[in-house]
């Protein structure tokens, strides 16, 4: 599809020893918190990488660093072999056109003051993307195309976000992401805010898009079941470090690290509590190592 066919050998993203700390000037003086602590990660073209972890594990920070929205405190980030962590915003044209993001909360990811048509075509009007060959020129035509692709009526373009349901709004966000024909799609908890029934529709949409546009997908979520369905690789994160990563079936079947095991065990399973079995505890071990339960990052 895209003219410069990405060489399968070169990784899409490469993170080497990436750390990120935040300086807080609260009344308790300068407090330094580490969100990322020496992360090494490689994302191959066509790969569907899931990043799981609990709140405060640093997964959202990691993808913001990958997408160059946030500079790392130390370490290197490469996109298709070229360093982007120290590049000026103008040199990021390639990254900006090839990588697009979808966010969690449909109420916050769409500008309430813009029509759906303007929201979706906004990336096409970006100065970095406008002049690139791989970005569609005819906005009107592309708008119709993507609306159809995300199963929304064509006349939706003229309406405003508050006229749509949560599920429909997330489709609009996805349409915005695929409008400039990116190669990589990053989803940050893209279905967590949706009702269960709507979640299925959106996940199916993701699966179709990845297949039809041969996209590389990075899917961040706290919901292990969703990740298992959508991704082929997974990285488990905790307190800013990647605890374990690899093919999803292997990690889910026989997790090497105890934290991953606990994580998998904690997912509530549909079970039947007979009157007598009231006392059978779920498989959750009593003594959990401290960690995700300490005060908020």
């Amino acid at each position: 599809m895209t003219d410069d066919e990405p060489d399968p050998g070169v990784p899409v993203f490469e993170a080497r020893g990436v750390s990120r700390t935040f300086r807080r000037s609260g009344t308790r003086g300068r407090v330094l918190t580490t969100a990322l602590d020496g992360v090494d990660l490689t994302v191959r073209p066509g790969q569907r990488l899931g990043i799981v972890g609990e709140s405060g594990s640093g997964k959202s920070t990691l993808i913001r660093v990958l997408d160059a929205l946030l500079p790392p405190s130390s370490g290197e980030v490469l996109f298709r072999g070229r360093r982007i962590d120290n590049a000026s915003s103008r040199q990021l044209g390639d990254l900006r056109s090839s990588v697009q993001m979808v966010f969690q909360d449909p109420r916050s990811s769409l500008d309430p003051r813009m029509t759906v048509g303007d929201i979706i075509t906004e990336p096409l009007r970006s100065p970095l993307l406008r002049s690139r060959p791989d970005v569609p020129r005819n906005h009107g035509e592309r708008l119709a195309e993507v609306l159809e692709q995300v199963e929304l009526e064509a006349d939706a373009a003229g309406h405003y976000p508050h006229e749509f349901s949560g599920g429909e709004r997330q489709r609009i966000a996805i349409a915005r992401a695929i409008a400039p024909r990116p190669d990589v799609l990053i989803a940050d908890e893209a279905v967590s805010a949706l009702d269960v029934s709507v979640r299925a529709h959106v996940l199916n949409l993701f699966a179709d898009l990845v297949r039809s546009d041969r996209l590389t997908l990075i899917f961040v979520s706290h919901d292990l079941a969703v990740v298992r369905h959508v991704c082929d690789h997974v990285a488990v994160m905790r307190s800013g470090r990647i605890v374990e990563s690899g093919p999803i079936e292997q990690i889910y079947a026989s997790p090497a690290r105890e934290y991953t095991r606990n994580l998998l065990a904690s997912v509530p399973k549909l079970r039947v509590r007979t009157a007598s079995s009231r006392r059978t505890a779920t498989e959750v071990p009593d003594e959990m190592p401290p960690g995700p339960d300490d005060p908020p990052a």
């Binding site: 935040f22 000037s25 009344t27 308790r28 407090v31 990052a297």
Partner: protein, 322 residues
């Protein structure tokens, strides 16, 4: 305690702002055309004697030099003396500052005492008739100029009923009762308008509480509606009151000029007006600097109070995102 770090930082920036403000004040005032020498020597004084007087008063030296000299004097506690009467500025301004300070603080106090209960009442009963009436009256009270309220109060209570003196002032030290009687009307004139503004903030602070999750928790654990509002609303509202009252107190110091004029209180405001008219620059500079300093100091004190009192603000500092 690490909190001192934050306070120290705020005091430092206060000092910075004061310094900048002092230069702006000095430059602005010395740019005023019209000349104190001409005022002293009177209408038909000849230019030569005016120039001589200007030279004697050192008004011709470069601005920066005079600024440094003035700043030095200010920091070492001698703000110089009045160009007109030669009297030391401290003696001129001291009693006047006391009058304005009493006027501003008493009216703010009366404003708060009036505003908090009324704000609570109108918030709690916002759907009912009396709640609506109160907020209606508050709107009207906010729309009337200070001096008009003062004038009406004076005509009714001082001139017609003769209960209280129409104007003038007796220092607290010499006769506390007369001092109080002279301040009742001016303080009431300011307090009515200030209280109206405060009531709106207190009312909205209490209404905000109604939408908070912790208010719903309080209701869920068994608090009746009004006690729940007071128990959890009062603290939230008091934080709101501190900020707003602080800002209002700061602007009140200058705002009282108008009421001083109506009730002939020898405050800083009326002194500033006469000093400006007579181009008595040293006095003008000193008074304006005092007003500026008061506003900046009060703002900083309000910030510090907010920081100390509200644990949430401390939490806000710990927000991670850049």
């Amino acid at each position: 305690m690490r909190a001192l770090g934050a306070i120290a930082r705020q005091l430092l920036s206060l000092a910075g702002s004061l310094l900048i403000a002092s230069f702006i004040v000095f430059a602005l005032i010395n740019a005023l055309p019209g000349d104190v020498a001409a005022t002293i020597l009177g209408p038909n004084s000849d230019p030569a004697s005016i120039a001589a007087l200007r030279e004697r008063m050192g008004l011709d030296r470069p601005l920066l030099l005079r600024y440094v000299e003035w700043l030095g004097g200010l920091l070492t506690g001698q703000p110089g003396s009045s160009a007109l009467s030669g009297a030391p500025i401290g003696s001129i301004i001291g009693p006047k500052l006391a009058v304005t300070a009493w006027l501003a603080t008493l009216s703010m106090l009366m404003g708060v005492v009036l505003a908090v209960p009324t704000g609570l009442y109108s918030a709690v009963r916002r759907k009912r008739a009396d709640g609506v009436i109160i907020s209606g009256l508050t709107q009207v009270a906010m729309a009337v100029p200070h001096f008009l309220v003062g004038l009406v109060l004076m005509i009714v209570f001082a001139v017609t009923l003769r209960w209280l003196p129409a104007n003038g002032y007796t220092p607290l030290t010499s006769n506390p009762l007369q001092w109080l009687r002279h301040l009742v009307l001016p303080v009431a004139a300011i307090a009515v308008v200030e209280a109206a503004m405060l009531i709106r903030y207190v009312r909205s602070a209490f209404i905000d509480v109604l939408n908070e999750d912790y208010f719903r928790t309080a209701r869920a654990v068994g608090w009746r509606f009004v006690p729940a509002v007071i128990r959890h609303g009062l603290r939230n509202a008091s934080l709101e009151v501190i900020t707003v009252a602080g800002l209002q107190l700061a602007s009140l110091f200058v705002g009282s000029i108008v009421v001083e004029n109506v009730f002939l209180l020898p405050g800083l405001g009326s002194q500033l007006l006469t000093a400006v008219n007579q181009r008595d620059l040293p006095v003008v500079q000193a008074i304006v600097m005092i007003f500026v300093a008061i506003v900046l100091v009060i703002n900083t004190v309000v910030d510090i109070c907010y920081h100390l009192l509200d644990p949430r603000v401390r939490a806000q500092d710990e927000e991670t995102s850049s």
